[in-house]
Amino acid sequence: MTHASVVDKLTKTIAPLVKSKVALDESTQFTGQMELDSLQIMDLMLAVEDEFDISIPLNVLADVRTIGDLAREIEQQMGES
């Protein structure tokens, strides 16, 4: 998958789970713009993991701030599996 297609699939997966009306793109931030708290992000991650059939370790989430960051992490996990 290309980075753009991962971002596209990721955006479609999380859109139903995001209550704020912010536009979702590569640079949208999870905690700031999407107004998600840590617990909501954890639940969102479970849905993302199922969609891509990967497991994303909690350890890497500290460095994930935007949809683009998460897309890059997904690409890395898909590459490892």
């Binding site: 479970l46 059939d53 990967i54 370790p57 909690l58």
Partner: protein
């Protein structure tokens, strides 16, 4: 980043509480009157927010054992076992815990928090993978973080989801450590341990069960949910605490694994802290046989839990789980739960307020914990307080 900005989230929560005019985290129990009653704000208050499940904190045998140790061995050990020596009581308690569980090894820690921190951080290092139930206690997550293992979270109480994540690991699944609890502290729900054991066997992984809230409560011999489910032999590591049903403070891990002999040397929360005091060890040693023979206490606890569960259900409250000694009432939102909690305290009932992010599913709860020492009249008084507050919701 300003030095105080890290506290921004805390400041926000405290401001919310200040706006309502209630501080649920600053409750002062002015005098402890019994295992189930204390003086709060000058009022005799039913304590339904402790974890004194078997009511052993005032058992005369435990008190006598603690007093004797205090007199003979002094007030404290003044250091860690590794650097400053092990007392005979530490060693004896470890032997007794190993025998109680029918496991070869036991290690005692100074608190329940440190038992998880010390065990998990030693077992799972940077090259290891742990799979954690989403609703596990903070001490389990902190243990993972301290050890540096790769942490994968699976859906709460969902063996199918666990299996899916183990499958993704490929060959690494055989070395993975699965972390679950027996009874979960927020809602009081039990883990489906039999199903988890089947998954663990399928992938050759190891399973650690934290029985903090189920020790003394579940199982014919009080060993917890693993005993009740008939899978104690399949659980590789059992972690527990002295601070709930045993009425003391401290924690432990028991296991047949040969790693246990090395665990203390690799466990920073074991090495770099003072060991439990002689009085603590002695009172726990006195409580352990009472817990093992505690069929009557467990029956009383179950009856009390059923009475409260049924009473609150009849009042129309939504409860977090089927009957256990933890009875969590689910309320609409944080402010409602806060006001409700304060209303109970005004009516002489102390329970726990639990709000996000400490709770699963972002729920706001008032959490009652039942004791075998509660009288039926006290349980009825708790129900009456809930009944009086129902119309205020």
């Amino acid at each position: 980043m300003g030095s105080m900005s890290k506290f921004d989230a805390v400041v926000k929560v405290r401001q919310t509480l200040a706006d309502v005019g209630i501080d649920p985290f600053g409750v002062l129990i002015e005098r402890v009157l019994s295992p189930t009653e204390g003086l709060i704000q000058g009022r005799p208050t039913i304590l339904a927010g402790t974890n004194n499940y078997l009511g052993l904190t005032f058992d005369p045998r435990c008190i006598a054992a603690g007093c004797e140790a205090l007199t003979k061995e002094g007030t404290g050990t003044t250091g860690s076992r590794m650097a400053n020596g092990t007392y005979v009581g530490h060693r004896q308690l470890e032997q007794e815990l190993a025998e109680f569980y029918g496991k070869r090894h036991a290690v005692v820690f100074s608190t329940g928090y440190q038992a998880n921190l010390g065990t998990i951080s030693a077992l799972a290092g940077a090259d290891d993978v742990v799979l954690v139930d989403a609703d596990c206690h903070a001490s389990i997550y902190d243990g993972c973080r301290l050890g540096g293992a790769k942490v994968i979270r699976f859906r709460h109480n969902d063996p199918t989801d666990l299996a899916k994540r183990l499958r993704r690991l490929g060959d690494a699944a055989g070395d993975a450590l699965i972390l679950v609890e027996g009874i979960y502290s927020m809602l009081g729900d039990r883990a489906p341990l039999k199903a988890f054991v089947e998954v663990k066997r399928e992938f050759g992984s190891r399973l650690l069960v934290d029985e903090a809230h189920s020790l003394g409560v579940d199982g014919d011999g009080g060993r917890g949910v693993a005993e009740a489910a008939g899978v104690l032999d399949d659980v590789d590591f059992v972690v527990g605490t002295f601070s709930k049903s045993l009425g003391g403070v401290g924690g432990f891990c028991v296991s047949d694994s040969e790693q246990m002999e090395l665990l203390p040397y690799a466990s920073r929360p074991y090495i770099f802290t003072a060991s439990p005091t002689p009085a603590t060890i002695a009172s726990v040693r006195a409580a352990l046989p009472l817990l093992a023979d505690g069929h009557a206490l467990r029956r009383q606890l179950r009856e009390n839990a059923e009475r409260l569960h049924a009473g609150l259900t009849a009042l129309g409250y939504t409860l977090g789980a089927p009957v256990s000694q933890v009875v969590a009432v689910v309320l609409d939102d944080r402010t409602t739960a806060l006001r409700f909690w304060a209303g109970l305290l005004e009516r002489g009932v102390y329970v726990n307020l639990m709000v996000p992010p400490a709770t699963p599913n972002n729920e706001s709860l008032v959490r009652c914990s039942v004791s075998a020492a509660h009288t039926p009249a006290q349980i009825d008084a708790i129900c009456a307080a809930f009944a009086a507050l129902r119309d205020t919701l």
